[in-house]
Protein backbone atom coordinates (compact mmCIF):
# COMPACT_ATOMS: atom_id res chain seq x y z
CA UNK A 1 0.00 0.00 0.00
CA UNK A 2 2.97 2.30 0.58
CA UNK A 3 3.68 2.27 -3.12
CA UNK A 4 0.33 3.59 -4.22
CA UNK A 5 0.93 6.00 -7.05
CA UNK A 6 -0.64 9.40 -6.80
CA UNK A 7 -2.25 9.81 -10.18
CA UNK A 8 -0.15 8.40 -12.98
CA UNK A 9 2.88 10.65 -12.71
CA UNK A 10 5.92 9.02 -14.25
CA UNK A 11 9.09 10.62 -12.90
CA UNK A 12 11.63 11.20 -15.66
CA UNK A 13 13.88 13.91 -17.02
CA UNK A 14 12.44 15.11 -20.29
CA UNK A 15 11.75 18.41 -22.03
CA UNK A 16 8.02 17.88 -21.42
CA UNK A 17 8.56 17.22 -17.70
CA UNK A 18 10.48 20.47 -17.44
CA UNK A 19 7.78 22.65 -19.01
CA UNK A 20 5.76 24.91 -16.75
CA UNK A 21 2.58 23.17 -15.61
CA UNK A 22 0.41 26.10 -16.64
CA UNK A 23 1.85 25.98 -20.14
CA UNK A 24 1.21 22.24 -20.25
CA UNK A 25 -2.46 22.76 -19.45
CA UNK A 26 -2.68 25.26 -22.31
CA UNK A 27 -0.74 22.96 -24.65
CA UNK A 28 -3.04 20.05 -23.79
CA UNK A 29 -6.10 22.17 -24.63
CA UNK A 30 -4.53 23.32 -27.92
CA UNK A 31 -3.63 19.74 -28.78
CA UNK A 32 -7.23 18.67 -28.22
CA UNK A 33 -8.34 21.47 -30.53
CA UNK A 34 -5.84 20.21 -33.14
CA UNK A 35 -7.31 16.70 -33.04
CA UNK A 36 -10.71 18.16 -33.84
CA UNK A 37 -9.34 20.28 -36.67
CA UNK A 38 -8.18 17.17 -38.52
CA UNK A 39 -10.31 16.32 -41.52
CA UNK A 40 -8.39 14.10 -43.95
CA UNK A 41 -5.83 11.34 -44.22
CA UNK A 42 -2.84 13.66 -44.32
CA UNK A 43 -3.96 15.44 -41.16
CA UNK A 44 -4.54 12.25 -39.24
CA UNK A 45 -1.20 10.89 -40.38
CA UNK A 46 0.46 14.08 -39.12
CA UNK A 47 -1.48 13.80 -35.87
CA UNK A 48 -0.41 10.19 -35.33
CA UNK A 49 3.19 11.13 -36.06
CA UNK A 50 3.02 14.01 -33.58
CA UNK A 51 1.80 11.63 -30.88
CA UNK A 52 4.64 9.21 -31.53
CA UNK A 53 7.04 12.15 -31.40
CA UNK A 54 5.55 13.24 -28.07
CA UNK A 55 6.00 9.76 -26.60
CA UNK A 56 9.62 9.75 -27.71
CA UNK A 57 10.27 13.24 -26.30
CA UNK A 58 8.59 12.46 -22.95
CA UNK A 59 10.89 9.42 -22.38
CA UNK A 60 8.01 7.42 -20.95
CA UNK A 61 8.16 3.71 -21.80
CA UNK A 62 5.64 2.65 -24.44
CA UNK A 63 4.19 0.04 -22.08
CA UNK A 64 3.29 2.75 -19.55
CA UNK A 65 1.84 4.98 -22.24
CA UNK A 66 -0.34 2.18 -23.61
CA UNK A 67 -1.72 1.59 -20.13
CA UNK A 68 -3.58 4.90 -20.49
CA UNK A 69 -5.41 3.53 -23.53
CA UNK A 70 -6.47 0.22 -22.02
CA UNK A 71 -9.54 1.55 -20.14
CA UNK A 72 -11.02 3.05 -23.29
CA UNK A 73 -10.55 0.11 -25.64
CA UNK A 74 -14.24 -0.72 -25.42
CA UNK A 75 -15.31 2.84 -26.26
CA UNK A 76 -12.86 2.81 -29.16
CA UNK A 77 -14.22 -0.45 -30.57
CA UNK A 78 -17.79 0.73 -30.15
CA UNK A 79 -17.06 4.01 -31.95
CA UNK A 80 -15.21 2.17 -34.69
CA UNK A 81 -18.06 -0.30 -35.29
CA UNK A 82 -20.70 2.43 -35.31
CA UNK A 83 -18.68 4.48 -37.78
CA UNK A 84 -17.90 1.46 -39.91
CA UNK A 85 -21.50 0.44 -40.45
CA UNK A 86 -23.36 3.68 -40.29
CA UNK A 87 -21.29 5.94 -42.50
CA UNK A 88 -22.94 6.12 -45.88
CA UNK A 89 -20.75 6.84 -48.87
CA UNK A 90 -20.29 6.23 -52.56
CA UNK A 91 -18.09 3.17 -52.83
CA UNK A 92 -19.83 0.12 -51.47
CA UNK A 93 -17.29 -2.50 -50.48
CA UNK A 94 -19.33 -5.08 -48.66
CA UNK A 95 -22.97 -5.80 -48.16
CA UNK A 96 -24.68 -8.54 -46.20
CA UNK A 97 -28.28 -8.55 -45.02
CA UNK A 98 -28.81 -5.02 -43.70
CA UNK A 99 -25.13 -4.32 -43.09
CA UNK A 100 -23.24 -2.27 -45.60
CA UNK A 101 -19.67 -1.15 -45.42
CA UNK A 102 -18.60 1.75 -47.55
CA UNK A 103 -15.03 2.87 -48.14
CA UNK A 104 -15.91 6.08 -46.34
CA UNK A 105 -16.97 4.01 -43.35
CA UNK A 106 -13.54 2.46 -43.08
CA UNK A 107 -11.89 5.88 -43.30
CA UNK A 108 -14.22 7.32 -40.75
CA UNK A 109 -13.72 4.42 -38.32
CA UNK A 110 -9.93 4.68 -38.56
CA UNK A 111 -10.06 8.47 -38.16
CA UNK A 112 -12.20 8.23 -35.04
CA UNK A 113 -9.95 5.62 -33.45
CA UNK A 114 -6.84 7.71 -34.17
CA UNK A 115 -8.59 10.78 -32.80
CA UNK A 116 -9.57 9.06 -29.55
CA UNK A 117 -6.11 7.56 -29.05
CA UNK A 118 -4.44 10.90 -29.70
CA UNK A 119 -6.86 12.68 -27.34
CA UNK A 120 -5.98 10.31 -24.51
CA UNK A 121 -2.27 10.25 -25.29
CA UNK A 122 -2.10 14.03 -25.61
CA UNK A 123 -3.74 14.74 -22.28
CA UNK A 124 -1.80 12.02 -20.46
CA UNK A 125 1.54 13.01 -21.95
CA UNK A 126 1.09 16.71 -21.26
CA UNK A 127 -0.71 16.40 -17.95
CA UNK A 128 -0.99 13.24 -15.90
CA UNK A 129 2.23 11.46 -16.90
CA UNK A 130 4.59 14.40 -16.87
CA UNK A 131 3.09 16.72 -14.25
CA UNK A 132 2.82 15.98 -10.54
CA UNK A 133 -0.75 16.27 -9.20
CA UNK A 134 0.35 19.10 -6.93
CA UNK A 135 1.87 21.07 -9.81
CA UNK A 136 -1.32 20.45 -11.77
CA UNK A 137 -3.45 21.77 -8.89
CA UNK A 138 -1.26 24.86 -8.62
CA UNK A 139 -1.44 25.37 -12.37
CA UNK A 140 -5.23 25.17 -12.37
CA UNK A 141 -5.36 27.57 -9.42
CA UNK A 142 -3.11 29.99 -11.24
CA UNK A 143 -4.97 29.73 -14.57
CA UNK A 144 -8.36 30.17 -12.91
CA UNK A 145 -7.22 33.00 -10.63
CA UNK A 146 -8.75 35.72 -12.86
CA UNK A 147 -12.13 34.30 -11.80
CA UNK A 148 -11.44 35.66 -8.31
CA UNK A 149 -12.93 38.99 -9.35
CA UNK A 150 -16.25 37.13 -9.53
CA UNK A 151 -15.62 35.91 -5.97
CA UNK A 152 -15.06 32.34 -7.12
CA UNK A 153 -13.36 30.41 -4.27
CA UNK A 154 -10.31 29.42 -6.33
CA UNK A 155 -7.85 29.20 -3.43
CA UNK A 156 -10.26 27.13 -1.36
CA UNK A 157 -10.82 24.80 -4.29
CA UNK A 158 -7.08 24.32 -4.79
CA UNK A 159 -6.55 23.75 -1.05
CA UNK A 160 -9.29 21.10 -1.06
CA UNK A 161 -7.63 19.38 -4.02
CA UNK A 162 -4.25 19.44 -2.29
CA UNK A 163 -5.64 17.98 0.92
CA UNK A 164 -7.54 15.33 -1.01
CA UNK A 165 -4.36 14.32 -2.82
CA UNK A 166 -2.45 14.31 0.46
CA UNK A 167 -4.96 12.00 2.15
CA UNK A 168 -5.66 9.49 -0.64
CA UNK A 169 -2.72 7.26 0.33
CA UNK A 170 -3.40 7.70 4.05
CA UNK A 171 -7.03 6.68 3.67
CA UNK A 172 -6.28 3.78 1.35
CA UNK A 173 -3.80 2.47 3.90
CA UNK A 174 -6.43 2.83 6.58
CA UNK A 175 -9.02 1.03 4.43
CA UNK A 176 -6.77 -1.98 4.08
CA UNK A 177 -6.11 -1.95 7.83
CA UNK A 178 -9.83 -1.90 8.58
CA UNK A 179 -10.45 -4.65 6.02
CA UNK A 180 -7.83 -6.81 7.67
CA UNK A 181 -9.30 -6.11 11.10
CA UNK A 182 -12.77 -7.11 9.87
CA UNK A 183 -11.40 -10.19 8.11
CA UNK A 184 -9.80 -11.22 11.39
CA UNK A 185 -13.27 -10.99 12.90
CA UNK A 186 -14.63 -13.33 10.24
CA UNK A 187 -16.11 -11.01 7.61
CA UNK A 188 -15.89 -12.53 4.17
CA UNK A 189 -15.62 -9.96 1.38
CA UNK A 190 -15.33 -12.34 -1.52
CA UNK A 191 -18.36 -14.57 -1.19
CA UNK A 192 -22.09 -14.23 -1.71
CA UNK A 193 -24.13 -12.29 -4.23
CA UNK A 194 -23.88 -8.65 -5.06
CA UNK A 195 -26.14 -7.54 -2.22
CA UNK A 196 -24.34 -9.60 0.36
CA UNK A 197 -21.01 -8.30 -0.78
CA UNK A 198 -22.26 -4.73 -0.73
CA UNK A 199 -23.55 -5.33 2.78
CA UNK A 200 -20.19 -6.61 3.91
CA UNK A 201 -18.71 -3.24 2.93
CA UNK A 202 -20.73 -1.47 5.60
CA UNK A 203 -18.38 -2.51 8.43
CA UNK A 204 -15.54 -0.96 6.41
CA UNK A 205 -17.23 2.24 5.40
CA UNK A 206 -18.54 3.23 8.83
CA UNK A 207 -15.17 3.13 10.64
CA UNK A 208 -13.60 4.82 7.62
CA UNK A 209 -16.12 7.65 7.73
CA UNK A 210 -15.77 8.10 11.47
CA UNK A 211 -12.01 8.24 11.26
CA UNK A 212 -12.10 10.60 8.26
CA UNK A 213 -14.19 13.08 10.23
CA UNK A 214 -11.81 12.83 13.16
CA UNK A 215 -8.87 13.38 10.83
CA UNK A 216 -10.57 16.36 9.22
CA UNK A 217 -11.17 17.89 12.63
CA UNK A 218 -7.59 17.38 13.77
CA UNK A 219 -6.21 18.66 10.48
CA UNK A 220 -8.34 21.80 10.70
CA UNK A 221 -7.02 22.48 14.22
CA UNK A 222 -3.44 21.86 13.10
CA UNK A 223 -3.89 24.21 10.14
CA UNK A 224 -5.30 26.94 12.35
CA UNK A 225 -2.37 26.48 14.72
CA UNK A 226 -0.10 27.11 11.78
CA UNK A 227 -1.84 30.46 11.24
CA UNK A 228 -3.94 29.42 8.24
CA UNK A 229 -6.60 32.02 7.52
CA UNK A 230 -7.59 31.24 3.96
CA UNK A 231 -5.99 32.56 0.83
CA UNK A 232 -5.85 36.22 1.86
CA UNK A 233 -2.36 37.58 2.44
CA UNK A 234 -0.73 34.25 1.66
CA UNK A 235 2.55 34.05 -0.18
CA UNK A 236 4.05 31.12 -2.06
CA UNK A 237 7.45 29.54 -1.61
CA UNK A 238 7.94 28.85 -5.29
CA UNK A 239 6.67 31.34 -7.82
CA UNK A 240 6.54 29.51 -11.14
CA UNK A 241 8.23 31.39 -13.96
CA UNK A 242 7.73 30.89 -17.66
CA UNK A 243 10.96 30.17 -19.49
CA UNK A 244 11.95 30.51 -23.13
CA UNK A 245 11.31 26.77 -23.58
CA UNK A 246 7.66 27.27 -22.56
CA UNK A 247 7.17 29.84 -25.30
CA UNK A 248 9.03 27.65 -27.81
CA UNK A 249 6.63 24.81 -26.96
CA UNK A 250 3.65 27.13 -27.37
CA UNK A 251 4.98 28.34 -30.73
CA UNK A 252 5.50 24.76 -31.93
CA UNK A 253 1.96 23.81 -30.91
CA UNK A 254 0.42 26.81 -32.69
CA UNK A 255 2.55 26.06 -35.77
CA UNK A 256 1.32 22.46 -35.66
CA UNK A 257 -2.28 23.65 -35.51
CA UNK A 258 -1.65 25.96 -38.47
CA UNK A 259 -0.07 23.05 -40.34
CA UNK A 260 -3.16 20.93 -39.72
CA UNK A 261 -5.40 23.69 -41.07
CA UNK A 262 -3.21 23.96 -44.17
CA UNK A 263 -3.19 20.20 -44.73
CA UNK A 264 -6.99 20.22 -44.61
CA UNK A 265 -6.96 22.16 -47.89
CA UNK A 266 -5.19 19.36 -49.72
CA UNK A 267 -8.11 17.02 -49.68
CA UNK A 268 -6.95 13.56 -50.50
CA UNK A 269 -9.28 10.64 -50.37
CA UNK A 270 -12.09 10.88 -47.85
CA UNK A 271 -12.71 14.11 -46.01
CA UNK A 272 -14.74 14.13 -42.82
Amino acid sequence: MKNIALGQYYPAESPIHRLDARMKVILAILYIVCTFLCKNVLCFAALACSSILLILISRIPLRTVLRAIRPIIFIMLFTAVINLFFTKGEVLLFSWWKLQIYREGIYSAVFMVVRIIVLILGTSLFLTYTTTPIALTDAIESLLSPLRIFHAPIHEFAMMMTIALRFIPTLSEETSKIMNAQKARGVDFSEGGLIRRAKSLVPILIPLFVSSFRRADELATAMECRCYRGGKGRTKMTIPRLHVRDFVALFLMVAFGAGIVLLNRYGYGYTM
Binding site: P169, E218, L219, C227, T235
Partner: protein
Protein backbone atom coordinates in the same frame (compact mmCIF):
# COMPACT_ATOMS: atom_id res chain seq x y z
CA UNK B 1 15.10 34.24 36.53
CA UNK B 2 14.61 34.90 32.85
CA UNK B 3 11.57 36.54 31.34
CA UNK B 4 8.30 34.72 32.05
CA UNK B 5 6.79 33.27 28.88
CA UNK B 6 3.82 31.43 30.32
CA UNK B 7 2.05 32.64 33.43
CA UNK B 8 -0.92 30.73 34.80
CA UNK B 9 -2.67 31.41 38.07
CA UNK B 10 -5.62 29.48 39.52
CA UNK B 11 -6.49 28.30 36.03
CA UNK B 12 -9.78 26.45 35.68
CA UNK B 13 -11.18 24.75 32.64
CA UNK B 14 -14.00 22.30 32.11
CA UNK B 15 -15.93 20.70 29.30
CA UNK B 16 -19.57 19.89 28.98
CA UNK B 17 -20.76 16.32 29.12
CA UNK B 18 -24.46 15.41 29.27
CA UNK B 19 -25.47 18.94 30.31
CA UNK B 20 -23.13 19.12 33.26
CA UNK B 21 -19.73 20.68 33.48
CA UNK B 22 -16.87 18.36 34.19
CA UNK B 23 -13.87 20.25 35.51
CA UNK B 24 -10.62 19.16 33.90
CA UNK B 25 -8.24 21.75 35.26
CA UNK B 26 -8.85 22.73 38.86
CA UNK B 27 -6.62 25.62 39.75
CA UNK B 28 -3.31 25.32 37.92
CA UNK B 29 -0.69 27.91 38.88
CA UNK B 30 2.72 27.93 37.28
CA UNK B 31 5.28 30.11 35.56
CA UNK B 32 7.49 28.99 32.72
CA UNK B 33 10.43 31.15 31.71
CA UNK B 34 11.75 31.72 28.22
CA UNK B 35 14.26 29.04 27.21
CA UNK B 36 13.12 26.33 29.63
CA UNK B 37 12.73 22.66 28.66
CA UNK B 38 9.73 21.43 30.59
CA UNK B 39 7.97 18.06 30.57
CA UNK B 40 4.38 17.87 31.76
CA UNK B 41 3.57 14.42 33.06
CA UNK B 42 0.22 12.93 33.79
CA UNK B 43 -1.83 9.84 33.09
CA UNK B 44 -4.76 9.81 30.64
CA UNK B 45 -7.46 12.25 31.68
CA UNK B 46 -5.25 14.14 34.11
CA UNK B 47 -5.81 17.39 32.20
CA UNK B 48 -2.32 17.72 30.76
CA UNK B 49 -3.52 17.91 27.15
CA UNK B 50 -6.25 20.37 28.05
CA UNK B 51 -3.62 22.58 29.63
CA UNK B 52 -1.55 22.46 26.43
CA UNK B 53 -4.57 23.34 24.29
CA UNK B 54 -5.24 26.41 26.45
CA UNK B 55 -1.76 27.72 25.78
CA UNK B 56 -2.29 28.57 22.13
CA UNK B 57 -5.95 29.37 22.15
CA UNK B 58 -7.49 26.11 20.95
CA UNK B 59 -9.52 26.01 24.17
CA UNK B 60 -10.61 28.91 26.35
CA UNK B 61 -9.96 29.12 30.07
CA UNK B 62 -12.98 29.34 32.33
CA UNK B 63 -11.48 31.19 35.25
CA UNK B 64 -8.09 32.34 36.43
CA UNK B 65 -5.21 34.11 34.77
CA UNK B 66 -3.34 32.91 31.69
CA UNK B 67 -0.79 35.08 29.95
CA UNK B 68 1.27 33.51 27.16
CA UNK B 69 3.96 35.52 25.37
CA UNK B 70 2.29 38.75 26.43
CA UNK B 71 -1.20 37.74 25.25
CA UNK B 72 -3.83 37.61 27.97
CA UNK B 73 -5.85 34.54 27.04
CA UNK B 74 -8.28 34.97 29.91
CA UNK B 75 -9.26 38.42 28.72
CA UNK B 76 -12.90 38.68 27.64
CA UNK B 77 -12.07 40.89 24.67
CA UNK B 78 -9.55 38.57 23.06
CA UNK B 79 -9.74 38.93 19.27
CA UNK B 80 -8.93 36.48 16.50
CA UNK B 81 -5.98 38.67 15.60
CA UNK B 82 -4.59 38.28 19.12
CA UNK B 83 -4.76 34.50 18.80
CA UNK B 84 -3.18 34.69 15.35
CA UNK B 85 -0.31 36.73 16.80
CA UNK B 86 0.02 34.28 19.69
CA UNK B 87 0.25 31.30 17.34
CA UNK B 88 3.20 32.88 15.57
CA UNK B 89 4.98 32.75 18.92
CA UNK B 90 3.71 29.45 20.26
CA UNK B 91 3.69 26.51 17.88
CA UNK B 92 2.11 23.17 18.57
CA UNK B 93 2.83 19.65 17.36
CA UNK B 94 0.06 17.10 17.85
CA UNK B 95 -0.13 13.41 18.50
CA UNK B 96 -1.04 11.94 15.14
CA UNK B 97 1.67 12.75 12.60
CA UNK B 98 -0.67 11.99 9.68
CA UNK B 99 -3.30 14.52 10.62
CA UNK B 100 -1.13 17.61 10.69
CA UNK B 101 0.70 17.49 7.38
CA UNK B 102 -1.16 19.43 4.72
CA UNK B 103 0.85 19.25 1.51
CA UNK B 104 1.80 16.32 -0.70
CA UNK B 105 5.51 17.16 -0.66
CA UNK B 106 7.66 17.53 2.45
CA UNK B 107 9.14 20.94 1.64
CA UNK B 108 5.76 22.30 0.56
CA UNK B 109 4.39 21.28 3.91
CA UNK B 110 7.20 22.99 5.80
CA UNK B 111 6.49 26.10 3.71
CA UNK B 112 2.80 26.07 4.67
CA UNK B 113 3.25 28.05 7.91
CA UNK B 114 5.47 30.84 6.56
CA UNK B 115 3.22 31.06 3.48
CA UNK B 116 0.29 31.70 5.79
CA UNK B 117 2.27 34.45 7.52
CA UNK B 118 2.89 36.16 4.18
CA UNK B 119 6.67 35.81 4.30
CA UNK B 120 8.39 36.75 0.99
CA UNK B 121 9.22 33.79 -1.30
CA UNK B 122 13.02 33.92 -1.10
CA UNK B 123 12.85 34.12 2.69
CA UNK B 124 10.48 31.11 2.83
CA UNK B 125 12.90 29.10 0.69
CA UNK B 126 15.75 29.92 3.10
CA UNK B 127 13.66 29.14 6.20
CA UNK B 128 12.43 25.82 4.77
CA UNK B 129 15.97 24.70 3.94
CA UNK B 130 17.21 25.72 7.40
CA UNK B 131 14.29 24.06 9.18
CA UNK B 132 14.72 20.79 7.30
CA UNK B 133 18.45 20.83 8.07
CA UNK B 134 17.74 21.42 11.77
CA UNK B 135 15.55 18.32 12.03
CA UNK B 136 17.85 16.33 9.75
CA UNK B 137 15.33 15.84 6.97
CA UNK B 138 17.04 17.76 4.14
CA UNK B 139 17.43 14.58 2.10
CA UNK B 140 13.69 14.07 2.15
CA UNK B 141 12.68 17.55 0.94
CA UNK B 142 11.10 16.20 -2.24
CA UNK B 143 9.46 13.14 -0.69
CA UNK B 144 5.77 12.48 -0.22
CA UNK B 145 4.81 12.47 3.48
CA UNK B 146 3.04 9.11 3.32
CA UNK B 147 6.28 7.37 2.43
CA UNK B 148 7.97 8.55 5.64
CA UNK B 149 8.07 6.77 8.99
CA UNK B 150 6.13 8.16 11.96
CA UNK B 151 9.22 9.73 13.50
CA UNK B 152 10.16 11.33 10.21
CA UNK B 153 6.66 12.73 9.78
CA UNK B 154 6.80 14.27 13.26
CA UNK B 155 10.17 15.81 12.43
CA UNK B 156 8.64 17.31 9.28
CA UNK B 157 5.81 18.70 11.42
CA UNK B 158 8.43 20.19 13.76
CA UNK B 159 10.29 21.68 10.78
CA UNK B 160 6.99 23.25 9.73
CA UNK B 161 6.92 25.07 13.06
CA UNK B 162 10.62 26.00 13.04
CA UNK B 163 10.05 27.71 9.69
CA UNK B 164 7.51 29.97 11.44
CA UNK B 165 10.22 30.92 13.97
CA UNK B 166 8.20 30.62 17.16
CA UNK B 167 9.80 31.26 20.54
CA UNK B 168 7.99 28.34 22.16
CA UNK B 169 6.96 24.90 20.96
CA UNK B 170 4.43 22.65 22.61
CA UNK B 171 4.46 18.94 21.89
CA UNK B 172 1.09 17.47 22.76
CA UNK B 173 1.93 13.77 23.18
CA UNK B 174 3.85 13.99 19.94
CA UNK B 175 5.81 10.83 20.68
CA UNK B 176 2.85 8.71 21.80
CA UNK B 177 2.16 7.10 18.42
CA UNK B 178 5.79 6.47 17.50
CA UNK B 179 7.97 3.40 17.77
CA UNK B 180 11.00 3.61 20.10
CA UNK B 181 13.37 4.64 17.30
CA UNK B 182 11.01 7.36 16.10
CA UNK B 183 10.50 8.56 19.66
CA UNK B 184 14.24 8.89 20.18
CA UNK B 185 14.63 10.88 16.94
CA UNK B 186 11.90 13.29 18.00
CA UNK B 187 13.16 13.71 21.57
CA UNK B 188 16.65 14.43 20.27
CA UNK B 189 15.09 17.12 18.09
CA UNK B 190 13.41 18.70 21.17
CA UNK B 191 16.76 18.88 22.92
CA UNK B 192 18.51 20.32 19.91
CA UNK B 193 15.88 23.04 19.53
CA UNK B 194 16.11 23.93 23.19
CA UNK B 195 19.90 23.89 23.51
CA UNK B 196 20.92 25.31 20.15
CA UNK B 197 18.11 27.67 19.24
CA UNK B 198 16.98 28.66 22.72
CA UNK B 199 13.37 27.71 21.96
CA UNK B 200 11.17 27.08 24.98
CA UNK B 201 10.09 23.45 24.77
CA UNK B 202 7.04 22.12 26.53
CA UNK B 203 6.43 18.44 26.07
CA UNK B 204 3.26 16.76 27.25
CA UNK B 205 3.86 13.09 27.79
CA UNK B 206 3.31 10.01 29.85
CA UNK B 207 6.68 8.48 29.03
CA UNK B 208 8.97 8.69 32.01
CA UNK B 209 12.15 8.39 29.99
CA UNK B 210 11.09 11.37 27.91
CA UNK B 211 10.33 13.44 31.01
CA UNK B 212 13.62 12.41 32.61
CA UNK B 213 15.53 14.25 29.90
CA UNK B 214 13.84 17.62 30.51
CA UNK B 215 15.20 20.34 32.79
CA UNK B 216 12.00 20.56 34.75
CA UNK B 217 9.12 18.16 35.28
CA UNK B 218 5.59 19.17 36.24
CA UNK B 219 3.29 16.36 37.31
CA UNK B 220 -0.42 16.99 36.80
CA UNK B 221 -2.97 14.74 38.41
CA UNK B 222 -6.72 15.22 38.48
CA UNK B 223 -6.44 18.78 37.16
CA UNK B 224 -3.99 19.93 39.79
CA UNK B 225 -0.24 20.25 40.00
CA UNK B 226 1.06 17.38 42.07
CA UNK B 227 4.76 18.07 41.83
CA UNK B 228 7.08 20.54 40.13
CA UNK B 229 10.86 20.23 40.10
CA UNK B 230 13.91 18.80 38.41
CA UNK B 231 13.66 15.21 37.17
CA UNK B 232 15.92 14.08 40.04
CA UNK B 233 13.65 15.65 42.63
CA UNK B 234 10.52 14.23 41.02
CA UNK B 235 11.75 10.67 40.58
CA UNK B 236 13.30 10.51 44.06
CA UNK B 237 9.83 9.86 45.43
CA UNK B 238 8.38 6.98 43.39
CA UNK B 239 5.44 6.54 45.76
CA UNK B 240 3.98 9.90 44.83
CA UNK B 241 4.19 9.13 41.10
CA UNK B 242 2.63 5.72 41.50
CA UNK B 243 -0.22 7.30 43.47
CA UNK B 244 -0.81 9.59 40.48
CA UNK B 245 -1.16 6.54 38.23
CA UNK B 246 2.28 7.00 36.69
CA UNK B 247 5.32 4.79 36.44
CA UNK B 248 8.82 5.73 37.41
CA UNK B 249 11.72 5.25 34.98
CA UNK B 250 12.81 1.62 34.98
CA UNK B 251 16.28 2.44 36.27
CA UNK B 252 14.81 4.40 39.19
CA UNK B 253 12.65 1.47 40.22
CA UNK B 254 15.63 -0.85 39.87
CA UNK B 255 17.69 1.30 42.26
CA UNK B 256 14.81 1.54 44.73
CA UNK B 257 14.26 -2.22 44.59
CA UNK B 258 17.98 -2.81 45.25
CA UNK B 259 17.90 -0.41 48.19
CA UNK B 260 14.89 -2.19 49.60
CA UNK B 261 16.97 -5.36 49.50
CA UNK B 262 19.63 -3.66 51.58
CA UNK B 263 22.12 -2.69 48.86
CA UNK B 264 23.78 0.61 49.76
CA UNK B 265 23.62 2.92 46.75
CA UNK B 266 24.32 6.66 46.59
CA UNK B 267 22.43 9.01 44.29
CA UNK B 268 19.26 9.10 42.22
CA UNK B 269 19.94 8.02 38.64
CA UNK B 270 17.19 8.70 36.14
CA UNK B 271 18.77 7.78 32.82
CA UNK B 272 20.06 4.32 31.92
CA UNK B 273 23.61 5.74 31.54
CA UNK B 274 23.62 7.25 35.04
CA UNK B 275 22.20 4.04 36.43
CA UNK B 276 24.87 1.91 34.76
CA UNK B 277 27.57 4.26 36.10
CA UNK B 278 26.21 4.04 39.61
CA UNK B 279 26.00 0.27 39.56
CA UNK B 280 29.52 -0.05 38.16
CA UNK B 281 30.89 2.22 40.86
CA UNK B 282 29.06 0.25 43.56
CA UNK B 283 30.43 -3.03 42.21
CA UNK B 284 33.97 -1.62 42.02
CA UNK B 285 33.66 -0.35 45.59
CA UNK B 286 32.52 -3.77 46.77
CA UNK B 287 35.45 -5.49 45.04
CA UNK B 288 37.98 -3.22 46.71
CA UNK B 289 36.18 -3.03 50.03
Amino acid sequence: MAEILIHAKELWCSYEEDDRRVPVLRGISLDIARGEYVAILGHNGSGKSTFAKLLNGILEPEAGELVVAGTNLASPDLTDDDIYALRREVGMVFQNPDNQLVATIVEEDVAFGPENLGVPSAEIRRRVDDALATVGMSDYAGHEPHRLSGGQKQRVAIAGLIAMMPSCMIFDESTAMLDPAGRREVIETFEKLNREQGITVLTITHYMNEAARADRVIVIDDGKILADGTPHEIFADPGRLIAAGLDVPQCTSLIHALRAEGVALEGEPITPEECADLLCRALEGKKHG
